[in-house]
């Protein structure tokens, strides 16, 4: 059934449909609408779950880890500072191989307090062993959250579903809310593989000597390597049932493109329009949307960019001293790939500054007129003074 939904409520509706059993959270703008809606669903009985409003994000993730260790389906949501505060527990959740799903609303980090969109919060958690999926619109948020549970429970790794602050979390759009029966078919009840078994007590989280630790880490890496194939299967299954599919990347008009704009999050929607404009002017432009950031989709990116001469990566984030984070990852995906394009790296839209169609066109034409990329990322739209 189509409904006009706020981005945040695309998350809470998915949590309801996924029949999540334990939710724990601490409020932070712009995540609050997600957890308030879930709190309401639990109280009214629309969702048969336990909801805890705990005293911090650290406790939120810790209690969700506790619940997941008992074998139930869990959820939490946070943003910006809250995610940063969870950091220690993020490593724990993946190390313990728990299928936790979290919605993370991309928000800028302080100081210079700012509640608006910026991807540096989630990207700085890239080494924590969480699968990261970035969303473009409300429908994708709902669908990705459902998919995240299947994926997490199959692979036994936690999944972060990521949406832009305000541009997505607080924007209303028509969203198709699937029927419960259909969702149940796609997402059967959790069959936890690592679980506190009352019939067979064992110890979780004990000391591991050098002789065994490395194998445990290797297992996590192997699990991550299984994600792309498993994700493809589930994306296919999802498409059969619901008629929608997203892929780990979405390449648009890349086949005959000379220059491809590489984007993620809500900038993708703007880019679709910019692309149409550029094409109507006879420009051979293409677009590559990156949805899956961890594991990084090296193969699909190589495939999509074959024969392209230049790419312009638009990063709404910065790793200080290195530059745009998507650009770095794409460079390493293309390394040792002779026919790869030149990689241009741009930083734009930090702390909620708008990235308009014109911004993207400026980036396109800059890339077109340059012979060689600069070593560093080029910052777009800085105030001059």
């Amino acid at each position: 059934m189509k409904q006009v939904l706020e981005g945040s409520h695309a998350v809470s509706e998915a949590v309801r449909l996924a029949r999540v059993q334990v939710i724990s959270a601490y409020p932070i703008t712009p995540q609050t609408h997600i957890v308030e809606a879930i709190s309401e669903q639990c109280s009214s009985g629309r969702l048969a779950a336990r909801f805890m409003c705990v005293e911090s994000e650290h406790s939120a993730m810790a209690s969700v880890i506790g619940a997941a260790s008992g074998g139930v389906r869990t959820f939490t949501a946070t943003s910006g500072q809250g995610l940063a505060y969870m950091h220690e527990l993020l490593h724990w959740a993946s190390g313990a191989r728990l299928p936790i799903v979290m919605a993370e609303v991309n928000r800028a980090l302080a100081p210079g307090w700012n509640i608006w969109v910026d991807q540096t919060d989630s990207l700085s958690q890239r080494d924590t062993g969480w699968i990261q999926l970035y969303c473009e619109d409300g429908q994708e948020v709902l669908d990705t959250t459902l998919l995240a549970y299947r994926l997490a429970e199959e692979i036994n790794l936690p999944v972060m579903v990521i949406l832009d602050a305000f541009f997505l979390s607080h924007t209303y759009e028509p969203v198709d809310i699937p029927d419960q029966e259909q969702v149940d078919e796609f997402l059967p009840p959790i069959e936890a593989k690592i679980i506190l078994d009352t019939a067979d007590p064992f110890a979780l989280g004990q000391m591991v000597p050098p002789g065994a630790y490395m194998e445990m880490r290797h297992d996590i890496q192997l699990a991550m390597e299984r994600v792309p194939t498993t994700y493809q299967q589930m994306d296919g299954l999802f498409a059969e049932l619901f008629g929608r599919s997203y892929g780990d990347v979405d390449s648009v008009l890349c086949d005959d493109a000379d220059i491809v704009l590489v984007v993620s999050g809500t900038v993708t929607g703007t880019c679709r329009q910019a692309l149409a404009d550029l094409r109507s002017l006879g420009e051979k432009a293409g677009m590559l949307k990156i949805k899956m950031f961890r594991p990084f989709p090296n193969e699909p990116i190589r495939r999509a960019l074959k024969g392209v001469s230049k790419i312009a990566v638009v990063d709404r984030n910065c790793s200080f001293g290195a530059g745009g984070i998507f650009a770095q990852e794409i460079r390493s995906a293309l390394c040792n790939f002779e026919t790869g394009p030149l990689v241009y790296s741009y930083i734009a839209g930090l702390g909620g500054r708008d990235i308009t169609g014109d911004t993207l066109k400026e980036i396109y034409y800059r890339t077109k007129s340059s012979e060689m990329p600069e070593m560093h990322s080029v910052w777009i739209g800085l105030n001059q003074e």
Binding site: Y26, P27, T29, V35, S43, F51, E55, S56, E57, Q81
Partner: protein
Amino acid sequence: MAIKDYLRERFFPHMWCPGCGHGIVLNNMLRSIEQLGLSKNEIVMVSGIGCSSRISGYVDFHTLHTIHGRALAFATGVKLGLPELNVIVPMGDGDALAIGGNHFIHAARRNIDITAIVMNNRIYGMTGGQFSPLSGIGTMATTAPFRNIDHDFDVAELSKAAGATFVARTTTFHAKQITDIIKQAILHEGFSVVEILTQCPTYFGRKNREGSASNMMELYKKNTTPIGSQAKQENPELIERGILHEVEAPEYCNEYDKIIKAAMKGK
């Protein structure tokens, strides 16, 4: 110095809702500072995040606007580095006792000379009315649409038990008492906690049908009584106002100096 000279007017208009009690706290805190004759340069204000914490933007002292829940940890560093300054830390109830609860008890335990002001509106104002550890059983909040089942802390008892050497409580209805208590809290050598009940008509008031801001302040008048009053014996439900606890105990920075002296053996 006139009160206005303590304000950083370029940060105005302030962000508080009409009827919010936080402005009364700001006003009376400035009066106490003025009455003590402190200069702007002798004061460091450290705050975390929340509507209450915005105070640090509005006053023209040395100010640090820091991380949610961590104001006391930052303030401890400031005080250790510059022990001659007066360190004042305004906090919301969530800031002080939810995410910052750990720092709160440890600052009290050390008895470091900091004045902690807990602006208790019993709700997370800034994020839109979720319940806090001071909301209490039976209250309504956006995260407790049917009613809250979480017990609340008694800030005064908690502070005392944790080691604070000055503990007081008042309300925004009792504005003069705010001035009076904050003055004594600043003068007290050691960790001082001042709890001020301050109304949030936008969230707590609306969710809990407490009416307008003036209505909520009327409730503060009705539901509180000076410490040791006859009224309290007749009606134990009343909340006591005034200085609830004041003792002398070694202060952290002083003790630290003594250790340095002893270690240097007069060198």
